[in-house]
């Protein structure tokens, strides 16, 4: 009589040993998480959390380590309230990522980098980052010991919240660097007599594809700029846009609790509320800069927000 020997140190066992990984035992692979996962919906339709968990259970180590979900999961935890087993799936994915890094794999994502010649070592980036990716270290730079930030590219998910918080322009990410953002806001003013609205839209807040497509349908006076997270928005960028002739700035982020990068939307709320307070103190209140937090159930809300801003910014008809 032959017995199949039970592998005592299977890949799944290794995952179970990492805090968070133990949830693996209670997953019955219903796939409810898949319906909530924004990565599956917006970035990698071929991959999803359930598939990753199955790969772990089946011992398909390499497939799990190279699965985009492993690296892209931002811990937004939209899947958590939906899971009938109350599994923190992001923690399981985190355990897989931990093992992947130990095994020598590294993040395939576009992450931030630090120009040590510019970095002053203030540490604002580390305080801003949802994932504590930047860390302050002391190292020799140009012959003297200096305190600078160093980014763990395996922790960084590229949201850009640190880029907008950096005061010396030392920390940057291709696509959303200061110079690229400044270039993107310098748009030709539309001459169709309509107000110029600049809309910054976070890559994750619009769940319905119809809402995403709608953004393309607006005429030239509605300038849409896609950003990875509303946390990337910088009050100086909003002011620069207004100075360059833009009539209003609308920033769209996720609803708190649903923010893809956990805290970007809260940081943005703070920034834009304070900015508006200052505009008010300078007698320029009036809602020319607005931040809206769009929930996963707010289908069609983006249209209302854009149309509302356009109406607010339109020249009022003269009263006779």
């Amino acid at each position: 009589m032959s017995h199949t020997k039970v592998k005592t140190n299977s890949f799944a066992d290794q995952v179970r040993l990492i805090p968070g990984g133990e949830h693996l035992d209670v997953c019955f692979a219903c796939g409810t998480c898949v319906s909530k996962c924004m990565i599956q919906q917006k970035a990698e339709p071929e991959y999803n959390p359930r598939r990753l968990i199955r790969q772990v259970m089946m011992g398909r180590e390499e497939a799990a380590f190279t699965n985009p979900t492993t690296w892209m999961c931002s811990g937004c935890d939209l899947c958590f309230p939906a899971c009938p087993q109350e599994i923190h799936i992001s923690e399981v994915i985190g355990a897989v990522k931990h093992l992947a890094i130990e095994a020598g794999y590294s993040s395939p994502l576009e992450t931030v980098s630090v120009d040590e010649g510019l970095c002053a070592g203030c540490g604002i980036c580390g305080m801003a980052c949802p994932y504590e990716a930047p860390e302050l270290i002391i190292k020799e730079i140009n012959g003297s010991m200096d305190r600078v930030a160093e980014v763990d590219s395996n922790k960084c998910l590229g949201c850009g919240t640190c880029v907008s918080a950096c005061l010396t322009g030392a920390i940057s990410r291709p696509g959303v660097s200061n110079s690229e953002m400044k270039e993107r806001i310098l748009v030709a003013e539309a001459d169709n007599g309509q107000p110029n609205l600049m809309t910054f839209v976070c890559d994750w807040c619009l769940r319905a594809s119809a809402d995403v497509e709608l953004l393309e349908s607006y005429p030239e006076n509605v300038h849409v700029i896609h950003i990875p997270c509303s946390g990337r928005i910088d009050p100086e960028i909003a002011l620069l846009a207004l100075r360059s002739g833009i009539d209003g700035v609308l920033i769209c982020g996720c609803q708190p609790g649903e923010c893809h990068y956990q805290r970007g939307t809260l940081v943005s709320a703070c920034k834009i509320t304070l900015l508006n307070l200052m505009l008010g103190r300078m007698d320029m209140a009036g809602g020319r800069v607005r931040f809206v937090q769009i929930g996963t159930r707010d289908r069609g809300r983006i249209k209302k927000e854009i149309d509302g801003m356009l109406e607010l910014l339109s020249p009022q008809p003269e009263v006779h």
Partner: protein, 328 residues
């Protein structure tokens, strides 16, 4: 070779910039031997008519401190610009507007109302307001007019160099005087007498948890006994150090007071206040909207905190006053 002619002038300022020059101590005597001072209202007796009588570009260097608040400030700025080869904006007020520039969040009328009518320490039952022109038996006497907004020096005349600080520290003033006397000034437009990065680069306070501390509530310096070894921001004290160009040698921070930002923004930042606001907002410890509101409520006077020295130089002022804010 004739000694270089140097002028010092003060416009809308407090006098602190003059004091910083006298802080040079005995070095000032040496400077006095090396240059020919042609105007310095604070220390020496010259008349405006002496300067008016000079030929254009006769003065080699003019150190101009103070913002442009009145018609007299503007008149002197324009006159000294015409008479000087090199114009240096000396100190935060001429550089960015400084403390007087905070008045840009009020209009002229509300400032007058406060100063001449409603101030609690005032008895002005006659309702006297300063007039530009008053007829007296001896003739007409005139006062400068008070402008609607405070401007920086470079919004009024062309400026060659900026020497920041409220006031600039004496060591930097001495260093800049040395550079001028050696004829080694950089290309015009440069900010001089400053360091490379921001104050954090020179600050030796420690950061805890490798810089991962977030802030639940901001405090004001009088509310806590600040730990002299630890980063102010981590202690909840709003420190402008991260948003401020190095160069002062950190006298405030060494005195256990957070940086207030007088040296202006680092290279590449156009609006020091907005940039600092963005950084401070990014370090809050918040998980819900209520948390955000709670932390935000602890920031007393955000405008005065973020724009303490640079309101006239800000994009905010530019948006409010339109093209009048453009640099010369």
């Amino acid at each position: 070779m004739a000694k270089p002619k140097v002028a010092f002038y003060w416009a809308a300022s407090c006098g602190g910039c003059e004091i910083t020059v006298t802080e040079l101590g005995m070095k000032l005597v040496e400077v006095g031997d090396l240059v020919d001072i042609v105007l310095w209202p604070c220390l020496m007796d010259f008349k405006y008519s002496d300067v008016e009588a000079m030929a254009d570009k006769e003065i080699d260097v003019c150190f101009f401190n103070g913002a442009i608040r009145t018609s007299e400030n503007e008149h002197l700025a324009k006159m000294l610009r015409a008479k000087s080869k090199t114009m240096v904006a000396f100190g935060a007020c001429s550089h960015m507007g400084g403390i007087p520039g905070l008045a840009n969040n009020y209009d002229k009328e509300s400032i007058f109302e406060r100063v001449y009518d409603t101030s609690p320490s005032l008895d002005n039952s006659a309702g006297t307001r300063p007039g530009i022109s008053t007829k007296m038996p001896e003739g007409e006497i005139v006062l400068p007019s008070f402008y609607e907004q405070v401007k920086t020096l470079d919004q009024t005349v062309e400026v060659d160099y900026y020497l920041p600080g409220c006031p600039p520290v004496a060591e930097q003033v001495g260093a800049v005087l040395g550079v001028i006397l050696e004829g080694k000034l950089p290309e015009p437009g440069a900010v001089i007498g400053v360091g490379k990065k921001t104050n954090c680069d020179e600050c030796e306070r420690t950061k805890r948890s490798n810089g991962h501390v977030r802030i639940k509530a901001f405090k004001r310096p009088h509310e806590i006994l600040a730990d002299p070894e630890v980063c102010f921001l981590e202690q909840g004290l709003i420190c402008a150090g991260p948003a401020t160009r190095a160069g002062c040698g950190l006298p405030c921070i060494q005195g256990n007071m957070p940086c207030r930002g007088c040296y202006g923004p680092p290279e590449g930042v156009e609006d020091q206040g907005a940039k600092m606001l963005g950084a401070i907002a990014a370090v809050i410890d918040a998980k819900t909207t209520e948390d955000v509101e709670r932390v935000m409520d602890t920031i007393v006077d955000p405008l005065g905190t973020y724009y303490r020295f640079n309101l006239p130089d800000s994009i905010l002022s530019e948006l409010k006053y339109g093209n009048g804010n453009g640099k010369q």
